[in-house]
Symmetry: C2
Subunit: 295 residues, 2 copies
C-alpha cells in the first residue's frame, strides 16, 4: 500500500495546487466569499475523487494538466456540497475535516455564497479551453457533471437524506439514496478521465460499474466508521445518523454483514477493471484502501 | 407600447412553458426539492431576462427553440439567486412576486437545495444539444454564464451587498456592486442570442454596451421604486435598503437626479442599438419600459 499512499498524496498535492491557483484571493469587499471558498476547498481531505479522476485519466494517456483541472472542478463541487450540507438548516455540523465548518468560521450567508461560488466555478473551469482543446469533450464533461449533481443526483440525494427520518427506508431505498447523494459524483469522477481520453462507450461502462460498487462500499464503510468512530478520529461528529433515527446500511444489516458486504463490493469493483490490466492498478489499490481505512 | 407588452407576455409564456417542461415533477422522496424549484421558477414575474435573450437572438435569426431554452436557463439562474438571497441568513424576505418566498413555503433546507438544483439545471440545459447543435456554441454559453454568476459576478455582488452596511460606498462602489450583482447576468442575457447566432465580436460588444446602460437604469429605477413603493405594489418588502442603512443610487444622488440618470442611461442604451436598425425595436422598447415601469 506504500506505493498507493504516495500516489494518493501526489494527486492531493496536484489538486491542492490547482485549487489554490483557480480560486484566487479577492481584492474588493467581495474577497470575503473568495476567502471562504479557499478556506473550505483548501482544508485538506484525502482527495479521493481527484485521485479517481487523475488515475482513470492515466489509463487513457490523458494530458496530466487536463486531468488535474477536471479533478479540481470535481473537488470544488464536493466542497460546495459539504459546505451546504453542514449548514444549520441542513445537518448543522460544526466540524469538518477537523476544522470549524465554513458557516462557523465565517457566517451562514457567506457559507451559502461560498458553496454557490464553488459550484459555479467548477463549471467555469470545465468550460475553459485549458481543460481540453475540444469543445465537444468539455461540453460532455459539463453535461455529465450537471446531471450527476442536480435534483436527480446529489441535490436530490441530500433532499432524501433530510426527509429520511420520516420514512421507513429499507436497503433498496438506502442504496438509491447513496447512489444519488454520493454515488453519482463518484461515478463522474471515475468516467471523467475516460471522457477526456475519448474512451469507448464500453470502457466508460466498465469504469461506471467500478464506481458503482466502490461508491456503495465507501458509504457502507462510512456508516461503520460513523457508528464505531469517535469525533476526534473522524474529524466530524460521530453517530449522527443513528441519533437522528435514520436507517443506514449498518442499522439495517448489522455491522458484521455490512462489513462483509463492503469487502465483497470492493472485490467486485476490482474485478470490473480486469480489461485495463496493470494500468488500473491505482484504482484497484483505491478499492482496497476504501474498505481498510480507519477514517 | 401595446406591441411591446404583447411581446413581453409572449416571451414570458414561452419561457414558462419551457420551465414547466425542463423542471419535471418528481416521484420519489426527492420530489420535495423539485416541487420547490417549480414553485419558485413558475411564480410568474415579468421575465425580462428571457425577453432579452429571445429578442437579441431574433436579431441574428436564431432558431426560436434554441433561444427559448437559453432563456429558460437564464431564468433558472435568476430564480436561484432570488431563492438564496431571500433566505433568513441573507436578506430574510418573506414575500417575492407577491407570494411567500421559497423558504417560507417549504423550509430553509429545501430552499437552499432548490436554489442549488436550479443553478445546476441551468448548466445542464445549456449543455444539452437541444440548445444548439454545435458544442462550441454551447460551451461558450456555459463559459460566459458561469463567469457572469460566480464570485467575480453575481455571487460576489451579493457578498458585497451583505457587507455594504459596514462600508461607506459612493457612486463608483455602488455602480460596481450593481454591475456584479445584477448587471453581469443582464449582460449574459443580452449577448446569449448573439452567441447562439455566431454574431461578430463587434455585435456582441454593441449588445454588451446596451446591457450595461440598461442594467444600471434598471437598478436605479428599482432603488426609486424601493423608496416610493409600498409592499403591495412591489410584491416585496419596500424601503429595506434604506432601513438597513445601505447606500443606494437614490440615497447618494437624490430621487430627482437618480430618475434623470435612469432616463439618460435608457436613451444611451437605445442609441447603442442603432447598427441593428428595426431588428432591435423590441430591445429599444424594453429600455423605455424599464424606466417607465411602476413595479
Amino acid at each position: 500500500m506504500r506505493q498507493f499512499e504516495d500516489a494518493l498524496a501526489e494527486s492531493a498535492r496536484l489538486t491542492d495546487d490547482a485549487l489554490d491557483e483557480l480560486i484566487p484571493e479577492g481584492e474588493g469587499p467581495e474577497s470575503r466569499v473568495l476567502d471562504a471558498m479557499r478556506y473550505s476547498a483548501l482544508a485538506g481531505g484525502k482527495r479521493i475523487r481527484p485521485f479517481m479522476v487523475i488515475n482513470s485519466a492515466e489509463i487513457f494517456n490523458v494530458d496530466r494538466a487536463h486531468a488535474v483541472r477536471t479533478a479540481a472542478a470535481v473537488e470544488m463541487v464536493h466542497t460546495y456540497s459539504l459546505i451546504h450540507d453542514d449548514l444549520p438548516a441542513m445537518d448543522d455540523d460544526d466540524l469538518r475535516r477537523g476544522k470549524p465548518t465554513c458557516h462557523v468560521q465565517f457566517d451562514e450567508a457567506t457559507a451559502i455564497l461560498a458553496g454557490d461560488g464553488l459550484l459555479t466555478l467548477a463549471f467555469e473551469v470545465l468550460a475553459g479551453d485549458e481543460t481540453h482543446p475540444s469543445p465537444d469533450i468539455r461540453i460532455k464533461l459539463v453535461a455529465e457533471l450537471s446531471k450527476a449533481v442536480g435534483a436527480h443526483g446529489m441535490v436530490g440525494g441530500q433532499m432524501i437524506d433530510l426527509v429520511a427520518a420520516d420514512h421507513d427506508f429499507g436497503v433498496p431505498e438506502i442504496t438509491r439514496l447513496q447512489r444519488m447523494k454520493t454515488g453519482d459524483l463518484i461515478n463522474f469522477s471515475c468516467i471523467a478521465g475516460a471522457i477526456l481520453g475519448r474512451a469507448s462507450e464500453h470502457q466508460v461502462h466498465v469504469l461506471s460499474a467500478y464506481a458503482h460498487d466502490l461508491g456503495l462500499a465507501f458509504q457502507i464503510v462510512d456508516d461503520l466508521l460513523d457508528v464505531e468512530g469517535d469525533a476526534a478520529e473522524l474529524g466530524k461528529a460521530a453517530g449522527k445518523d443513528e441519533a437522528a433515527g435514520k436507517a443506514t446500511f449498518v442499522s439495517l444489516l448489522g455491522a458484521e454483514r455490512a462489513r462483509g458486504q463492503a469487502h465483497m463490493l470492493a472485490e467486485q469493483a476490482i474485478q470490473h477493471l480486469a480489461p485495463f490490466d496493470d494500468r488500473a492498478k491505482p484504482l484497484c489499490d483505491l478499492a482496497e484502501f476504501v474498505v481498510k481505512r480507519r477514517r
